[in-house]
């Protein structure tokens, strides 16, 4: 369960957002991005001391100023469905990527060898060590890396 996928799932739901400065914003989430910047609609702003209130039709809040968000309980169930759908996609992609990974592995070997040559002076141990890690990475974790890159996008 990723925080940002929960938040994304919570779009159009009501929520409470507390900022680092203590102000809270109650409103419906319109949109959010990977920085947790958010757009709210039909917002009620409450001052830090909790005794003054403002109504605003909409507002944009910078993600880096958010302390936390309270999200309705039912949203969590909807995320799970999303997650399952995603993991199904992921396994399919992994099947495809498996071929690529083995290609990468083959492609990686000459590079590793070149490294060995480069590390000749006094780094006999370090060279093969790095090489082994590299091959391990290509074979074992090759599938993960594209995902990490994809998620960051």
């Amino acid at each position: 369960m990723l925080p940002l996928s929960l938040l994304k799932t919570a779009q159009s739901h009501p929520m409470l957002v507390e900022l680092k400065n203590g102000e809270t914003y109650n409103g419906h989430l319109v949109s959010c991005d990977s920085w947790m910047n958010i757009n709210l609609r039909d917002v009620i702003c409450t001052s830090k001391d909790g005794d003054r209130f403002w109504r605003m039709p909409e507002c944009y809040i910078r993600g880096s100023t958010i302390k936390y968000l309270r999200i309705p309980d039912e949203v969590i169930d909807m995320v799970k469905e999303d997650a399952q759908a995603k993991s199904r996609n992921r396994t399919e992609m992994n099947k495809n990527r498996g071929g690529n990974a083995s290609q990468n592995q083959r492609g990686g070997r000459p590079g590793g060898n070149r490294n060995n040559v480069g590390n000749r002076p006094g780094q006999g141990y370090g060279g093969p060590g790095n090489n082994a890690m590299r091959l391990g990475g290509a074979a074992g974790q090759g599938n993960r890396l594209p995902h990490a890159a994809k998620n960051r996008k």
Partner: protein, 110 residues
């Protein structure tokens, strides 16, 4: 950079842009907006321009002053700033000034 979205340009997806902001500031152009800054300052002014980093150009800007001992409470006093550039990284909140009103406690208090 050519692929950056700037100043109310209506980008119809011809050129690839890195990432579209979830905030479409073009709808606020020439309108009065309210901004809050990191540290607690608040101001409002007419949006004249903006960029992808959320730097803003505000005209006829008014800063709402605060008490020195209650830094988050606005006082009645204002300070006129005129034409300003707001640094995007310092912005905490942006909302249209239109429709912002002080209200009584809308939550049930028991």
């Amino acid at each position: 950079m050519a692929d950056k979205k700037v100043g109310g340009g209506n980008n119809d997806g011809k050129e690839k842009r890195r990432k579209e902001s979830i905030l479409d500031l073009s709808k606020y152009l020439e309108k009065q907006i309210r901004v809050k800054f990191a540290g607690g300052r608040e101001a409002s002014g007419i949006l004249k321009g903006y960029d992808a980093l959320l730097n803003l150009v505000l005209d006829n800007t008014v800063e709402y002053l605060r008490d020195s001992d209650e830094p988050y409470k606005l006082t009645e006093t204002n300070r006129s700033l005129g034409l300003v550039v707001c640094r995007g990284t310092a912005l905490v909140l942006i909302c249209p000034q239109d429709g912002v009103e002080s209200i009584a406690n809308p939550f049930i208090t028991q």
